[in-house]
């Protein structure tokens, strides 16, 4: 017989009283040892793993770096206050190269290799759109800190959320009245020729029309372009406002060339801060922007009326009054967007607590708990301002800032209200199966 040594004989315990006592003593000792107490409940006390899909390289790299800094600061604060459901939070970072194909691979890697609880963090709209199907297939909750209308348009899937930053459609709608009333009625748009730019192209004209103003020309610029002068003759002479929104490393050139083309005799300028994120307003050639206006999600420069929460947030992420890294005035942050990482992590915390989240098997519960959220109050968890959340379209709505360039700084001159940016939902993610 094969089992003549009794290997498979279950009736035989092989445990003497002495070894049993030793084992019990050792177990008790481990349980009492410092730092080990939390793990005595096994898996439910292991850290919650958040996969961070970061633009470490590629054209989004400057954003990626600051998104990482903000995330690290938020996770530090969350962990110091006891973590989520009593568990510490651990962030695992993978570089997506600001590339949609690589983005989808990274989501897959988080799901199968790192086995993270959720994926979080990405900004560039083409990466979000490229990665969303992978998140859906892996049933992986995917919290993006992007800006495009792709989440709210319900073109993605039930696992994709944007709860920490408003979308372009909402931003434009809330700012159009200010543009029409203060800058001018005849607007020429200059925008990047891809997804994020198309949101601006599609939603500005109706928003301005509702205010009695009009878009008289739309100029799309390929994302790889590095020189812009050749597009400027397309700007009609009767233009009163140039509305510019550009991303990537070439934006400085864009503004400089606009300055050379027009000199002091220029139309009004209204820009999305994306054009100048991580760029020092006092860079050579940018004097031309003096007196022009920008949209900012969260103000780069400290303002006189900043809330205590805003001040605490700025200190935590390590930016000074000029929005640059503390100790390095040349390292300018992406302040208008990166607050979204901080706020999104607190939304994740809230949703996980509401869902009683324990592990990947509760992902569907997490999705439903997130969809059940309705509002986030302004405070340490939401320093940018109060927000409402529409669970049907997975999108939050908040306030916007319009700032004027004055003496090399941005000064907030107008804050919109949440209601200004609300629109009819275009669909309903909650009808999709989980």
């Amino acid at each position: 017989m094969a089992d003549k040594n009794g290997f498979f004989d279950l009736s035989k315990t092989g445990l003497t009283r002495r070894t049993a006592l030793k084992g019990l003593a050792a177990g008790a000792g481990l349980g009492l040892a410092p730092g080990f107490v939390r793990y005595s409940q096994a898996q439910i006390s292991a850290p919650i793993k958040i996969g961070f899909q970061s633009h470490r390289t590629g054209i989004g790299a400057a954003y990626g770096r600051w998104y990482e800094k903000t995330t690290a600061a938020a996770v530090k604060a969350i962990n110091a206050a006891g973590g989520i459901n009593g568990r510490q939070v651990e962030v695992i970072i993978e570089d997506d190269g600001t590339d949609p194909g690589r983005g989808a691979e990274v989501v897959g890697k988080f799901a199968t290799q790192h086995k993270t609880d959720i994926v979080f963090g990405t900004l560039f709209s083409h990466v979000v759109i490229g990665s969303a199907p992978a998140a859906g297939e892996n049933k992986m909750p995917y919290f993006v800190v992007s800006e495009g209308h792709h989440v709210a348009s319900t073109k993605l899937n039930r696992y994709v959320f944007q709860p920490g930053i408003t979308d372009v459609k909402s931003q434009i709608q809330s700012m159009a009245p200010w543009i029409a009333a203060n800058a001018g009625k005849k607007v020429t748009q200059i925008f990047p020729d891809f997804a994020f730019g198309y949101d601006h192209r599609d939603y500005l004209p109706p928003a301005l029309k509702a205010q009695g103003a009009e878009v008289i020309a739309q100029i799309a610029i390929p994302p790889t372009e590095s020189s812009f002068t050749k597009y400027f003759p397309q700007i009609p002479a009767e233009t009163e406002v140039i509305y510019h929104v550009m991303v990537g490393p070439a934006v400085l050139t864009f503004v400089k060339e606009l300055g050379e083309f027009y000199g002091s005799n220029r139309p009004q300028l209204f820009g999305f801060i994306d054009s100048l994120e991580a760029t020092d307003i006092n860079s050579p050639g940018l004097e031309f922007l003096d007196g022009s206006h920008f949209w900012e999600g969260s103000p780069r420069y400290a303002q006189a009326d900043d809330s205590e929460a805003q001040k605490a947030y700025r200190a935590a992420v390590g930016i000074d009054d000029n929005g640059a890294a503390v100790g390095d005035p040349k390292d300018v942050s992406t302040a208008a967007h990166m607050f979204g990482c901080w706020e999104t992590l607190y939304v994740v915390k809230k949703a996980m607590e509401d869902a009683g989240y324990k592990g990947p098997e509760d992902r569907a519960k997490l999705v439903e708990a997130t969809e059940a959220l309705t509002a986030f109050a302004e405070g340490p968890e939401h320093p940018q301002g109060p927000k409402t959340f529409n669970g049907k379209i997975h999108q939050c709505f908040g306030i916007q800032n319009i700032s004027k360039v004055e003496g090399g700084k941005l000064k907030v001159v107008h804050k919109t209200k949440i209601e200004d940016g609300l629109y009819e939902a275009e669909g309903d993610y909650t009808t999709q199966a989980l």
Binding site: A61, T224, F232, P233, A250, T253
Partner: protein, 293 residues
Amino acid sequence: MHFGPHLLLAALEGLVTSAVLALTALGLSLVFGVMRVVNVAHGEFFMLGAVLAWAITTAIGGHPALGFLAALVIAPLIVGAIALVAERLVLRRLNYNPEATIVATIGMLYIIQQLALTFYGPEARPVEPPFSYRILLPWFGYSGYKLSVIATSALLLIATWLVLTRTRIGLVMRSTQYDSETAQAFGIPVGRVYAGVFALGAMLAAIAAVLIVPISQAHYLMGQDPLLLSFIVVIIGGLGSLRGTVVAAVLIGMSDGIISMFFSPTLAKIIATLLVAMVLVFRPQGLFGTASR
């Protein structure tokens, strides 16, 4: 804007592109012409020039012209030295084998790019132009600096041509290009000529980058576009032909400026690519190249 001024602006923009492109492509063309090495890392030497220009102008304070002139001298020298080291350490050990050097220079591309990302960072950083004079035309303003780029590039191209055709260095290079074995038999140190040519090619790219950096900015990914355009120029002009390189650079630069202004930038790229295809089909040696022996 009326047609005349519109065309003028398009032509000016096209000329700036041509000027910088001619210098960059010339470096690529020289390296291939003499060494038969397709230097895929050429765009990264361009990027290094721009990044170093930023570092040098930042280190040297005072009037922007001081820093810029220093960059114009120092950056190409540093890039040349790096290229020299790369040539000695890598290309020579591969015996300039065409297939092996392509793979090796692809490797160099990634190494240089990632080192730039590590030490310089992902941001695009501006360099102040040596002077910022805005030429005021009746219809629009134009950067005086951009015009000076065209002039500087033209002077440098003439200087390179004089070196190649009128000096002993040029003679040695041309003889190595014509037949390296016979040149070696006549006592020409072919190995050292190769090293020098590779460094010179990289330096030309670096100079082009220093000239362009006050117009655009220094960014660690900026090497890709000039590499691709340089390949287009070199294929159209004919490898190793200085005249062909200049003519093709002007052709590509101007067509890019004019077509992308009146029609669309995408169409300009399509036409450039189509031109490459046509040249490869009907005149594989390029417009001014000589058929290989």
